[in-house]
Symmetry: C2
Subunit: 156 residues, 2 copies
DNA sequence: GAGCCTCTGAGCAGATTGTCCAGCTGATAC
DNA sequence: GTATCAGCTGGACAATCTGCTCAGAGGCTC
């Protein structure tokens, strides 16, 4: 679960140039190929690396509008609401948070007008008492992990 | 910018088994290798596929606590606050949203107690007027894109 | 019909992968 | 001090995949 400096460098390298192979990585890091392979296997079975799926940009797919909605859930309806939201493709992410029956979800839509349709679909469900939505204007820090990896690797 | 059915299948396949190569993909999809290569190149230059970076799990790195903080920013201090937050490794993501000088950021921490340290560091900056934090308890829908890809591919 | 784009199926040299192995090192246990 | 162990190194091998090229076929628009 703890990662050392070499793991950190490996992750950073992998994040910067994901297409390079094990052999090229071993050259860049100055270690043997077997070492890189062993480290990668360990990081994956550790769960540190969850996968290498493609990072798809919703905007390029035609969904340039992002919003966060805070939902207030009626007591005991949590499971139903979760199941409902999981069926909506525009719900990219859903969290339950502290507070009385609150959820936070990330939405995308084709336009501001389309966002209304998405929100109607999201909140058009019995267990949801109230929803408040914040539309994203800018994204100064896109989802990132490298700084955290570097910190975790430094502390080793 | 619009993706067709084959693009959709390609993305789904890539998301499910990211380590398979171009040749294996062409076999699974029943098309020629050159087609897969051309589609992949196009998706990448389109920006639909942003990259193939490793998906790192903060929890496995020792940061099991996630929280969302809504920040109220003093007028005109936005740029400074952005720069400040970008230097905090525990800030994984930052958005500016509708509303008067509001920002939303995703934080991680080593523990609930550690979250206090992170929040102090985040809000210990002049331009931030107020902050309210919601701690994530569950994550019923982890960040996903496949359902949206399938919808976009079906509409073609 | 001409022109254009995409897909197909094939070929080639070169590089990479998965998988072994023996030897070395540093740390830990006895 | 010495035995044991895990991790790293550097090397080898066959099998596979990649990047690149090509000619031909189909479908589309003008």
């Amino acid at each position: 679960m703890a990662i050392d400096h070499l793991d950190g460098r490996l992750l950073v390298l992998l994040a910067e140039e994901p297409r390079i192979g094990v052999l090229e990585m071993s050259r860049r890091l100055g270690v043997a190929r077997g070492t890189v392979q062993a480290r990668l296997d360990r990081l994956q079975s550790n769960g540190v690396i969850r996968g290498f799926g493609p990072q798809v940009d919703p905007a390029a797919l035609g969904y340039p509008v992002t919003a966060f909605a805070t939902l207030q859930i009626r007591q005991g309806q949590g499971a139903d609401v979760r199941a409902h939201l999981a069926t909506v493709p525009e719900v990219l992410e859903l969290h339950t948070t502290t507070g009385s029956g609150d959820m936070l979800c990330r939405l995308v839509a084709r336009s501001n007008a389309d966002l209304q349709r998405v929100i109607d679909r999201v909140v058009g469900f019995d267990g949801i008492v109230r929803a408040s939505t914040a539309i994203v204007m800018e994204n100064p820090v896109p989802l990132r992990i490298i700084p955290l990896v570097e910190q975790a690797a430094t502390e080793h």
